[in-house]
Point group: C2
Chain length 214, copies 2
């Protein structure tokens, strides 16, 4: 497997945690999202992902060379092909809740603060992209805290690690980087601490990557 990503890309980070949790080896290909206007905006990258985003996972499956984008699609495929150890709860309702909380981050927060949107807010609208990002991160984390307070145990959905936790941890790292006050989100930071104790989260951490600049 080959993973194209960027050390602090939250979407890449989710996939790194899943790969580490399932014990899957992969080659890591850094794509620098900022340098020289972003390597994802070069012509060569278009064939990898026309959305010009990371992550992109390449792998062989039944003799076929496959390229897959979108972190949630990648997580679902890894879960189907390598179900153990699991990243979704055992019950249908538990899985629904995990997917709901994951999607709240994946479509409710991250798209509004990603590299391309921040740049457009700054360059095309002449607005403060950090204030923009904070606004949407705070709105989303507030909703996530409310939902998580109903479902969380050790992790966001009971005591079973799930996609939701994989989405939470990188999102909180981003929030701190943008000086978001995390005091209003005690459930989220408690679950984050539980995740931080797991080797998969340590291996997948942004600052543990070869392209980290932190």
């Amino acid at each position: 497997m080959r993973l194209y990503g960027f050390w602090r890309s939250t979407a890449t980070w989710r996939v790194r945690i899943a790969l580490a949790h399932k014990g899957l080896a992969y080659e890591y290909r850094p794509v620098h999202l900022r340098r020289d206007g972003g390597e994802q905006n070069r012509d060569e990258f278009l064939a990898l992902n026309p959305m010009r985003q990371v992550p992109v996972l390449e792998f062989e499956h039944e003799g076929q060379r496959v390229r897959l984008t979108q972190s949630i699609a990648i997580l679902e495929l890894l879960e189907e092909l390598y179900p153990s150890p699991p990243l979704l709860p055992a019950s249908a309702l538990g899985r629904a809740r995990a997917r709901e909380l994951a999607e709240l981050v994946v479509s409710g927060i991250q798209p509004l603060q990603n590299t391309a949107v921040q740049r457009w807010v700054r360059e095309a609208l002449g607005a403060d992209e950090a204030a923009w990002a904070r606004h949407w991160v705070e709105k989303g984390l507030g909703a996530l805290e409310r939902r998580a307070a109903e479902s969380a145990g050790r992790f966001l959905v009971g005591d079973a690690l799930s996609f939701a936790d994989l989405c939470l941890v990188p999102q909180l790292y981003f929030a701190r980087r943008f000086a978001v006050d995390l005091a209003p989100y005690p459930t989220l930071t408690r679950v984050e601490a539980a995740c931080a104790a797991l080797p998969a989260f340590q291996q997948a951490h942004a600052l543990a990557q070869p392209d980290a600049e932190g």
Copy 2:
């Protein structure tokens, strides 16, 4: 089942198609996203969904009253509980592709053009929210067309109807409403036409809903 939604909300519309395709009856509760600042912004709505978005699906499961948000989480749960007729392809790679293309719309396009974001662009940034929406819709549809051209048959992923098609059709309706030129997306409009011939898509269409204003 009870579905809280809005006639032209693209996320609600995806779920309506799934419910119609699987022949599931439901009570429809309109939530007007524009009137008086939006009914989703009233205090009562917070308990339904703290993200202040539709759709919200309420249902009984094994004696439990459940409330679920996020269209993709709802689609995945419906697929698990009512697998026939299916809305995901039979192969793992087919399912991965369907989820990838769905997510390209769900997290790659829709979050950037939804009601709350349009309002923020207009009111907080003083910018043209229609131009903003068009920019992101065109970027996303361009990428979707490229990926779909590799995988499409009658539908976006081969000849099997999937989540991807459920996301495509409402997104193209939105694009037309914002005067996006669809000529550069021949695969997408061809698949849209195939979908439009299916009764589930006709029943679920925005203009066929009791709260439609078109």
